[in-house]
């Protein structure tokens, strides 16, 4: 399925009447089976955009469309959260089943489907654990399994690995790519790490500082399947440099404003 974000703006109004313009006139598309990374400085509205696509927020202007057939029983979107957002009172198994419960699947079907995804994400043997008994990397596997379980037409990932340490992060990126090779789910992936964006995505959409708007879309000319060795490839470096030059001035300004 294809996602089309058309001239979307979002302004938050807080209780005291002050308003924050998070996104301004953003248009972008994610083609079917495409892996698009959304990159931008902190606070530029990346999470806001994902929430809009997931239907958790309504845009202030513009619209978001899904194009293509959505077989009945298949979810349009599913989200993987930076802070994992697992239900602490559910075991791994029950967490993975959550979306399936809401979709109304019978218990047996739920259990079977969850087992598949637990297998796929390398969680076998941990079904009965509670989230607090898992390491960070394990927890995010649960988050991914829970999202993939509902077989979403579009998978939304909001900095899914940024809470993990460097080693685990690397490992999880590899695994995500492997899973993607198998499922070919359309993915919109938020990050503020340039390396990560280039390594994972087919295209990188770069957003400006708040209010976020699209600075440029950078295609990544790297073959698939990707491998760690490609981190030094000329195509990698070209894309990364291009993106770096785009956000350098933005980042500098941000730093200056933040102060010590």
């Amino acid at each position: 399925m294809r996602v089309a974000v058309e001239r979307v703006s979002k302004t938050y109004a807080d209780r005291r009447g002050a308003s924050v313009e998070a996104l301004r006139d953003v248009s972008l598309t994610v083609d079917a089976e495409e892996f698009v990374a959304l990159l931008g400085p902190s606070g530029c509205g990346k999470s806001t955009l994902l929430a809009l696509v997931a239907g958790l927020l309504a845009p202030s202007a513009g619209a978001i469309y899904f194009e293509g057939d959505l077989p009945p029983g298949r979810a349009a979107t599913a989200m993987v959260f930076q802070e994992f957002a697992l239900f602490p009172w559910r075991t791994v198994q029950a967490n993975v089943e959550f979306g399936l419960e809401e979709a109304g699947l019978p218990a047996a079907a739920r259990a079977a489907r969850a087992r598949d995804l637990i297998q796929l994400t390398g969680l076998a043997g941990f079904e009965a654990r509670y989230p607090h008994q898992l390491s960070g990397g394990m927890r995010q596997r649960v988050g991914i399994a829970r999202a993939l379980a509902v077989d979403p037409a579009v998978l939304l990932m909001d900095e899914p690995f940024s809470a993990l340490d460097a080693q685990t992060r690397q490992l999880m990126q590899e695994e995500l790519l492997q899973i993607w090779e198998r499922t070919r789910t359309t993915i919109l992936y938020v990050t503020h790490n340039i390396q990560e964006a280039v390594y994972l995505a087919d295209r990188v959409v770069v957003l400006s500082r708040r209010p976020g708007s699209v600075l440029a879309t950078v295609p990544v000319g790297l073959a698939r399947p990707r491998a760690e060795a490609m981190l030094g490839a000329p195509a990698f470096i070209a894309a990364a440099d291009r993106i770096w030059s785009l956000i350098k001035s933005e980042a500098r300004e941000a730093l200056r404003e933040a102060g010590a």
Binding site: L52, V53, A54, G55, L56, L57, A58, A63, I64, Y65, F66, E67, G68, D69, L70, A76, T77
Partner: protein, 259 residues
Amino acid sequence: MSARLSAPDRTHALERRAHPVVRVLALRGVVVLWELVTRTGWVPALFLPSPSGVVEMLASGELLVHVATSLRRLLLGFGLGALLGVSVGLAVGFFSLAEAVGTPLIAATFPIPKIALLPLLILWVGIGEASKVAVITLGVFFPMAINTYTGVRNADPLLIRAAVSFGAGRFSLIRKVMLPSALPMIFAGLKLGAGTALLLLVAAEMIAANAGIGFLVLHAQNLMETTKLMVGIVLLSFLGIVSHWLLVRLERLAIPWKA
């Protein structure tokens, strides 16, 4: 080209409206309804006195002497209980010997509903004011001691080590680290204790007194003077609200670093 769907709108499940008008009207609506129900005589005044009747009796001030009596008992008992509770809590929290002696004793006596001690206290300190004040003191002592103890024990060990690294001795530690660390818990205890104190005051005055709001309420019931009964209840609610408000103000003053 294939189907074009709008994104699903899930915002309604997250939405929370403020309903400012309902919020303001709710309490007033109940009072108005209450007045109507009693005015029309649909519910006899014996079972439910009218709000206007209650306000009238309140305004007449005839019950002020009872309020003064109750207030004196309350302040004395609460003050004593808080003072003792905080002192014991600090000692038990800080000195390991005091902890070894204190915690089992407190754990064994804390669960007694304090009002049950009133008869014993009457035997010990006499039937006069002392027994009522003592019941309130006991009722306030326990939450205060336990909260202070918890506050002290949960003092950040890093801050303790920092203070010691700058040469702080035991009493410096208590005064400059333990006590301020425990202040939020102490105030939580005071708020809890205020409710308990009021409850114990009323119960003690109902059981063994001939003045005070608790006495007033029970006496009014014996005489089926429902309006007076309701006035007593309103006065108590008022006392509760005022004491809580005072404690919240005091807390803000005492803990400026948690603004």
